[in-house]
Symmetry: C2
Subunit: 157 residues, 2 copies
DNA sequence: ATCATTTCTTGATGTAAATCAAGGCATAGG
DNA sequence: CCTATGCCTTGATTTACATCAAGAAATGAT
């Protein structure tokens, strides 16, 4: 855990980095965000004073988020291991954080079709077990819209 | 931690309940969801085999989610205290889970205006510190749309 | 102060998805 | 078996928001 000061505009983490850190903001403002295929930024969170900013991924996996400083900022940097104290019981919670992060990014940036495609990849087995209208409700779209998306996808093949 | 079996359709938790539990799904399928002002359901998550389903709120606060069984389901019920082992270091993580849960529900069910209103309530101080286009990016809308929303809100007052 | 860059606003137009509505299939219950 | 209820699809219309475009205001650099 070491304290550093960074100037406005400094990039602390890029998408794809591994062994990413946890940043505790003492003063200033960080932001984490993704950049989609069209080059558009989607801010995942702001990190003002006293906030913890990090990518909720395993420290050995490539991360998904960029993190940079919106203001001159004083932060404490820690490794994920330090923060988590090697407690294996925390892993389910981390996996969940990671899933939630993905979902937020998805909801902010994807079309109905993309969301559905992602859903069937992530939960292939559930698709058969629940009515279509519940999947629509999970995706944040109407049953009609999902029906049309499906229709279109089946034609394509 | 006790094991119970519930039939398809059983409601395990209603919005507003306090001291809500953690459900570990052994077999079957649960779902958690909200119901908005218009009576529309928004599924927050599905809980198939081996998943943990819970409302990420403090056990003394009224919860936001309904939880029910989509299939006949065998679950292990635990209190939140049991699961968290009274570890105070986990509180920041829980607060974060709660924030993420709120954000997901918000992204699924709210209009641009509602999201913005929620944002200024949640981060009143940040509004002054970041350019409008970043707030738009956080809300998942365009800067133009946010500009118009703001315009409208200022007229109303 | 001047010029350049970025930010915000406003208008016109386009589009994805919502809403409204109706018909066809199932499945379940009598 | 028949009927009722819920589920899915399809079409017509509406709407919220995106996109495109241009100008005004603010911010920063020299």
């Amino acid at each position: 855990m070491k304290k550093i000061k960074v100037k406005k505009g400094t990039i602390l983490q890029r998408k794809g980095d591994i062994n990413t850190k946890v940043y505790y903001v003492e003063k200033g403002l960080l932001r984490s965000y993704t950049i989609d295929e069209k080059g558009k930024e989607h801010i995942y969170m702001f990190g003002p004073e006293s906030w913890l900013v990090t990518d909720n991924c395993d420290s050995k996996d490539p991360c998904q988020l960029f993190i940079d400083a919106i203001e001159n900022t004083t932060i404490n940097v820690a490794s994920k291991k330090e923060v988590l104290k090697q407690d294996p019981d925390l892993n389910p919670i981390l996996r969940r954080l990671n899933k939630m992060q993905n979902r937020i990014v998805m909801l902010m940036s994807s079309s109905a079709k993309e969301r559905y495609e992602h859903f069937i990849k992530t939960y292939p087995n559930i698709t058969q077990r629940v009515p279509l209208k519940m999947i629509a409700s999970y995706l944040g779209i109407t049953p009609e819209a999902l029906s049309r998306v499906r229709n279109e996808l089946s034609k394509k093949k």
